[in-house]
Amino acid sequence: MNILVCIKRVPATGGKITLTPDAQEIDARMLGFTISPHEECAVEEAVRLVEKHGGAATVLTLGPNGATEQLRDAMSIGVERAIHLETDGREFDPIATTNAIVNAIRGDGTNYDVLLFGNEAADTGDFQVGVRVAYAFGYPCVTGIKELAVNGNKVTAKREVPGGWEIFEVLMPAVITVKEGINLPRYPSLPGRLKAKKKPIATSQPAWQDGGLEKIKLMTPPEEAHQVEILGKGAEAAPKVVDLLERLGLL
């Protein structure tokens, strides 16, 4: 089976987010870049499906030149080849992104059985591209998936909902958008990294299009104020602690 997994290069998180002076980008100098976390799980899932059922996985990204780093990361854990839709750094909105991906898939000549996406990108959080790509091809689409299995020509996908699971069975080819928690992505090994350097990346430059979404500027939300109240020290603090626990309904 052939699996396509679509990923996005996004600033890593972990530190306080700082914006570039023009408020158009996140200043990632101190953060570095990574694969959007849901998509990291999608890559791992693609590799596992191939390990189990045979075939090959392809990774695709739309992004600047630097996004080859994320393609190599995906290939270092077992994806065989990559498609890089190289941008000049300008952001493609969900419609433009979809168009570029759809054109690339059509031009690629491979019949993909499963198209894996992250549920949403870690930076823009649009929740759209997977659904739009499915619509463009007329494929079934299930989103927010945390468990996946392939049986014959069918995919069984499970989505976690409060109190239980929704289980879908769809015919391939299908689009699945996955969520963190579906698996624990592996770390790349040294041989994996070295192999990835030699794996092919097919690069093309889709023209930027105005999909209708315009970024005005980025803003960081005000930090939540944390109020710390010291209840006391040693034994004298005990009554206040008890009082607090009672108010919280814990006692």
């Binding site: 890593a12 530190g15 990632a28 770390y187 090994s189 040294l190 990294r193 070295l194």
Partner: protein, 849 residues
Amino acid sequence: MNNFPSHAHVVVIGAGIVGNSMVYHLAKLGWRDIVLLDKGPLPNPGGSTGHASNFIYLVDHSKEMTKFTLDSVKQYKELGVFTTSGGIEVSRTPERVEELKRRITSGKSWGIEGMHLISPAEVKQLVPFINEKIILSGFYTEGIGTVDSLRGGTLMREAAQTMGALQVFPNTEITGMQVEPTPGSGKRIRAVETTKGAIQAEIVIITCGLWSPRLARMAGAYIPLTPAVHQMISVGPVPQLMDTVGEIKYPIIRDMDTNMYERQHGSDMEVGSYAHRPILWEPDDVPSIEKAALSPTEAPFTKEDFDPQLEQALELIPDILGNEQVGIRYAINGLLSLTPDGFPVLGETPEVKGLWSVAAIWIKEAPGIARAVAEWMTDGNPEIDPSGSDIARFYPHQKTKTHVKARSAEGFNKTYGIVHPREQWNSNRNVRLSPYYEREKVLGAVFYEAMGWERPTWYESNAKLLDEFGDRVGKRDAEWDARWWSPIINAEHLAMRERVGMVDLSAFAIFDVQGAGALDFIQKMAVNQMDTPIGRVTYTNFLNAHGGIKADLTIMRLGENYFRVVTGAFDGARDKKWLIDHLPAGPEHGEGPVTLTDVTSAWSTLGVWGPKAREVLQSITEADFSDKAFPFATCQWVDFGTVNVLASRISYVGELGWELYVPFEQGARLWDMVREAGQKFGIAPVGIGVYAVTGRLEKSYRLYGAELEQEYNLVEAGMARAKVKEQDFIGKAAYMKQRANPPAALLCSLTVDDNTSASGIKRFMQGREPILTLDGGPIEDARGRRSYVTSAGAGPTLGKYILMSYLPPAYAKVGTKLKVEYFGEQYPVTVAAVGATPLLDPENKRIKG
């Protein structure tokens, strides 16, 4: 915070391994009222200590660094945070095989035990997962290990608190520094401003690692270092390491030829590299704790820089790194500090009194350095001489960002490099040029750098002398011995000894000391009687309070209250600070009774020496250069045509001759006059290869930093004067005591009896090799100091190869047969002279002309 102090005796900024070690040692030495601040939380405030790989190799070619390391290991062991694992440096190339032998040799000089040169099969026995097929040899040191530096730091900090000496405030950022003018034109630290308020302090110590330059600038001082990336990854879980109890079971590997290391850490293997391109940062670009993804000093890993190293690591440890189940779990561009010469930056800043730097320090040496600096602060006499790391060593151009970055970048890939003792820097050259420079270039001068000065080491135009002197010149067949060397040096030597040579000495650092208190001041500083007739030149030393040798220089008395101090380029900046520190009313241009003016850039110096020196100079001046009119150890103002020159009749090469001090802009004219006049006497331009090595060694003259240092005294150096002057001087009491007691060692000149190696090639020691007994055992004096070669070089006139070394009295006798080790082989040597007695011309007839 209401308990935040408004005053402290000492404020230490930075609670990494260095700051914690500092407060501990200060407290131990009785210092109280210390405050330790850090902008980060404890125990890991986010500096380089937090991501250090924490392993400690013992051997360094530098004695100073090795001693700091050995002392640190001892301290870590006492704290119970050291784990001995052993460590192996492996060679992949024949050149490295030789270098590992040289490293063992250095280790022997500095007193390290448990070192073994082992075969690839023996490496495999110790490290079963290594691919021994690609290595040629291993240098195994039993005492190598790892340390828990965060725990060690915490223990030291808490010990200082327990002693009642220390208050600690984490999460407190420095926002500014306050300085106040001293009586002269200098500054002294007054207070640090922090996010929790200002603290007045007499002493502020910057132990902030790579942030140090920024802190120093707040006070108007310089700490010349740059943050730089050291890439490291950690892979795991490694099946072969899973059953390890504790942190480390297998010896640490240093893959020297690829500039990498592999070190077990529990069930992980850390792979670090110094092979990638130098990646330098600005201190201001290092993010705050909030903005950093991991910590401020764990920057995002740049994979493409590390990729070439992956293959090399895989090649060496295929069984572990080639396992597809072993993942790269952690990868950082770890930030550490680099300096332009690779040494730490220690001591009080020359710009601001009371502001100290203890920076650019690795885990392996931190507690040892902290002890030395604490001793230095307490009584000026650290047990381990930190002169090579003294912040005062830097001249202004060496503190510029351009220089710091250029040299740090150049030095980075030499971290595990095979660096020849004479190896030259490529970057930022031609900084300080003498007035003779253009003329020297025409003569084919091969320039070596001395603290920015370009000094001819020999002149290719003298190649014609090789034929003249034939076999006496000597040749070197071993590439290493001949590297950064030329037989022309020996030919220049012979030309000078037999005729006359002219030497560019413009790199001298020169200070004029003047004023009503000048004589008293100079008397206080110098060992010799300085109340001499005007026009006397005195070769003398400065001592520290404990009688360690602090400086080695000449002083001319130019007037009743006017002295000119002349010292070497490598010591000038440090000597200047020592002088300024002791001026009666503060710093340079002080308002007190003495002023010190740095006239280094005003005067260039041309040395003219050799049996024909008098005739050459007499032919271009009307002044009387006869022995009667111009005796040895005197100086006079004389005219050479229109050039008024201060001529000083002394010599560092043991020949009749003069140092001519000439105004910088008239130097070229003087050069031309001397050279033209010298033609008929066969004058040769002579390089520093003669001046600092061959000429000096034949006369057993000492060099500061080689023979002379704070760890030895004048009696041991054979330089105790016949009489002790009545006047007081720094170190006098200690010096009197040293004279009254038998010395633990005596400086000797030795000659190599047979320098033929096992393979039949003549070898030439380069200095710092161990002197051994006839049965090959180390020699240690009563103070625990090993005997090693302080200087080595040819003696072309004597026809001998000369070594200098301190030897315990039992060996310090003319005729004693000993051995020297060089690249793993031992060669017979004989003690040829003890003390100041020169090998050549012991009666000094040549100098007296």
